[in-house]
């Protein structure tokens, strides 16, 4: 899509900032209601069905680095996330003693082009954690408020899974899940011995068609490269582009929003943005402004939107914008399965993610940490890429000859070549992804000393894990060892200890950052009301993960989508009632 920049004299009904999960859903729902919508996106257009954007089904030898990651694509040269942890000209800073990594995609669809497609509803308990354990805060809404929207998201976008009837893992409208892969069967065996449930995973991948606009999955295991058949969910392919075809939606690409503009009364009346093409600033007007730039970026825009009526930034009269930033916890472990050395060869690509997972299965009342985690499984026979054949200096010993004698580590020659072949597809591992406690003292703010290359002040992060997350990571590692060992695997690497917080990932690394513009009934302690409307600015809404009061032990995107739909319905009805 060509770059489309204009100073529009005619105001739009709604301006949406960002085209990721939240912004994409809003663009669809608001345009279907007949509203004239502008989507302002900092990145370029992206469509995986076009050959100039397609990385799916490419072989490693089509990349001079054989698929290795780069600064622009840290998850691999074919990954469909253009951006990364460290974007040229777009820095962020960290407070003393803080480690925080911030992953951004700059493209239509945002991070939904390469996301893991794990699509979990939050459960009833996930909205009321403070009532259960006294930590953090309850959401002002509950599962029943979101359930109809989760249902609609399931049907609109598609997710496979199995009905399980687990209270806090609500079932949805599922497509049939794929059968497990071989290493997953080993994991199921190992977990069963430890009385840990493993159920079919829930991914937004179409195993059956849900409409005539999108194809079905052909099992290439490359959802992270974005699907040319549109058989997995990306906001660009499933929401923004379809909305543009059907409704009054103008997409402004390569446009970096600097602030929300306001009139004298403090109402939002549009945005101003910098075009990356000519580096000039443009202004657009609208009756309603919707922020979906991702949790931290929306907070940044709000904090940078200072005016006479909003001296501390728009929506920030409570001082809560940027506060309660939190990410999921994460830890991982890996092993090698002697049973899989010399394994049979067949096409085991499957879908672009795990076919089975473990939802949180324990009761925290009986544990020394407050919140749960789920387990994601990986391994087996995927497409080799940069890194294949590495580490034979430590791993070759796992290959044994016909008399059971291990090969020596390292080496060279035909024997080495054979052993690399024999070991291929025999490693496997798991990752825990858990809930953390939202803390007032974990936050992002504007760094007054640093601007990005567009002249926009940047974010500064402050984040420390609490005891709960650290103990949870320890528990994860105990569990991982139990499952892997039960599955017959030999553990690889060392079990991390207290000196590394038990391998707990650096905040931000799990890329589930939420909470920066949280919702609540009390305008003094929250940024938005329960409809994701700013307490101090009626016609300003947030539709990304900023409104989350707590990030459950589930991945956030299905909830972003459901909330954005709900918020969009509210906007339509308020506009109809002339309330905004």
């Amino acid at each position: 899509m060509s770059i489309e920049i204009k100073s529009s004299s005619e105001p739009y009904d709604v301006i949406i900032v960002g085209s990721g999960a939240g912004g994409g859903m809003a663009s669809k729902i608001l345009s279907e209601a007949g509203l004239a919508v502008a989507v302002i996106e900092a990145g370029g257009d992206f469509d995986p069905a076009k050959d100039e954007d397609r990385t799916q089904l490419r072989y490693p030898w089509e990349s001079p680095r054989r698929g290795n990651g780069t600064r622009i694509r840290p998850f691999g040269d074919f990954d469909a996330a253009i951006g990364g942890w460290d974007i040229e000209g777009e820095p962020y800073t960290k407070g003393k003693d803080t480690s925080f990594d911030w992953f951004r995609s700059r493209m239509v669809g945002g991070r939904t082009n390469h996301w893991g497609r794990i699509s979990l509803r939050f459960g009833p308990n996930d909205f009321k954690r403070a009532s259960i354990d006294g930590l953090g805060h309850d959401w002002p809404i509950g599962y029943d408020d979101l359930k109809p929207y989760y249902d609609k998201v399931d049907k609109l976008i598609g997710v496979f899974g199995s009905k399980e009837g687990i209270f806090n893992e609500p079932d949805g409208f599922f497509l049939p899940p794929p059968k497990p892969r071989l290493h997953e069967l080993f994991m199921m065996k190992g977990a069963k011995k430890a009385s840990i449930p493993v159920i079919p995973s829930r991914l937004s991948v179409l195993t059956k068609p849900i409409n005539n606009d999108r194809g079905v999955c052909f099992f290439c295991r490359q959802c992270n490269r974005a699907c040319q058949a549109y058989a997995d969910f990306s906001s660009g392919t499933c929401l923004v582009h379809p909305a543009m075809k059907k409704g009054k939606v103008d997409l402004y690409t390569n446009s970096m929003v600097r602030k929300v503009t306001t009139d004298d009364s403090g109402k939002a009346n549009g945005v101003s943005f910098i075009s990356k093409v000519d580096m000039k600033e443009y202004k657009l007007k609208a009756r309603v402004v919707v922020l979906g730039a991702s949790a931290c970026e929306s907070a940044r825009i709000m904090l940078n939107s200072k005016s006479k009526s909003h001296p501390d930034g728009i929506g920030n009269s409570s001082g809560m914008v940027g506060r309660y930033l939190h990410d999921s916890t994460g830890a991982d472990r890996m092993g090698i399965l002697p049973d899989l050395i010399d394994r049979e060869r067949y096409n085991e690509d499957g879908v672009g993610g795990m076919h089975v997972y473990t939802p949180w299965w324990l009761d925290n009342k009986k544990l020394d940490f407050a919140r749960g985690y789920h387990i994601e499984y990986w391994g087996g026979m995927g497409m080799p890429s940069y890194g294949v054949g590495f580490s034979m200096d430590t791993m070759r010993k796992f290959v044994k000859d016909e008399f059971g004698n291990p090969s020596p580590n390292g080496g060279y020659g035909e024997g080495l070549k054979k052993d690399i072949r024999r070991i291929q597809g025999s490693t496997l591992g798991m990752s825990g992804r858990g809930e953390s406690i939202p803390m007032y003292h974990n936050y992002c703010e504007i760094d007054p000393n640093v601007v990005d290359k567009y002249g926009i002040p940047v974010l500064k992060f402050h984040y420390q894990w609490t005891e709960h997350e650290i103990k949870q990571a320890k528990h994860m590692h105990d569990t991982f060892e139990e499952i892997l060992t039960n599955a017959g695997a030999v553990l690889m690497g060392e079990k991390p200890g207290p000196e590394t917080k038990y391998g707990l990932a650096t905040p931000g690394r799990i890329i589930h950052e939420v909470g920066t513009t949280r919702m609540g009934n009390n305008p003094a302690t929250s940024v938005l009301n329960s409809n994701c409307q700013a307490h101090d600015c009626d016609n300003l809404f947030v539709v990304d993960a900023g409104p989350f009061v707590s990030q459950a032990d589930k991945n956030p995107t299905w909830t972003i989508l459901a909330l954005s739909w709900r918020t969009s319905d509210f906007i339509v009805s308020e506009l109809k009632k002339k309330n905004i």
Binding site: R54, T70, K179, F218, E344
Partner: protein, 238 residues
């Protein structure tokens, strides 16, 4: 669902995708697709990426001497065998050349390691590495190729050879010949219907009874999804 409508959609992309694999065997649906490698940049690159890759490809890091040494070393690590080519035949040294520039942290260990090899050869045989006989070369390699047996003062050499082994192996097994050697079958439209029965049997696995009716059946892949009021997906043959 309407097949014609699907076909229209199917060819809107440049590449036929797996829309309608329902009743065909996967082999019938191989994509017509020839990978392009020349220039090292393919589709799916941003302008910024194209510029970076072109710049890296136009620069040279390894000098002629270094390349010659690497030719010998990578073929010691990955020689040809009865049914697959050697590392040099698979273009591994070109790959290493590129990685030196793409990941500059490799540069000093590589350049220094290759130099050290000459020093070490000089110290032991009075000749640079390339001037050694085959068996002398192998004596040197054997001092650094076996991390668990190597003498302590060879630690640096071991590290260097580990890096070389990694790069040679990865450069080799990410080529067409390497894929063939590994026996990787995939990266092509197909229908996943579980682990083949004989493999299940060999490892003593059975699918959990509970989910037998839940799992995707290949023949359903053409039917538009519909659910009953209780959110159960309607299966045509149930």
């Amino acid at each position: 669902m309407n097949r014609r409508e699907n076909l229209k959609l199917l060819f809107t992309g440049t590449l036929a995708s797996g829309f309608l694999l329902t009743n065909c065997a996967p082999e019938d649906n191989k994509l017509e697709y020839t990978p392009r490698i020349e220039g090292g940049t393919v589709g799916g690159r941003t302008e910024e990426e194209k510029l970076i890759d072109q710049k890296l490809l136009s620069e040279t890091f390894l000098n002629e001497d270094e390349r010659k040494k690497l030719d010998v070393l990578v073929d010691i690590i990955i020689p040809a065998d009865s049914d697959s080519p050697s590392a040099t035949e698979a273009g591994v040294v070109d790959f290493i050349e590129f990685m030196m520039k793409d990941y500059p942290a490799y540069q000093t260990p590589m350049r220094g390691g290759l130099m050290w090899l000459d020093h070490h050869s000089e110290d032991n045989y009075g000749k640079v590495f390339m001037a050694l006989s085959k068996s002398e070369k192998m004596e040197i390699i054997d001092q650094i190729a076996w991390p668990d047996k190597a003498k302590q003062d060879m630690e640096g050499g071991v590290k260097f050879f580990n890096m070389l082994r990694n790069l040679a192996a990865t450069g080799y097994f990410t080529t067409e010949a390497g894929f063939k050697n590994l026996g990787y079958i995939g990266n092509t439209p197909n229908i996943w219907d579980g682990v083949p029965a004989e493999v299940m049997k060999k490892h003593g696995f059975e699918l959990p009874e509970k989910y037998l009716d839940t799992y995707l059946k290949p023949e359903e892949r053409g039917e538009l999804a519909q659910w009953d009021e209780e959110a159960n997906i309607i299966r045509s043959n149930s």
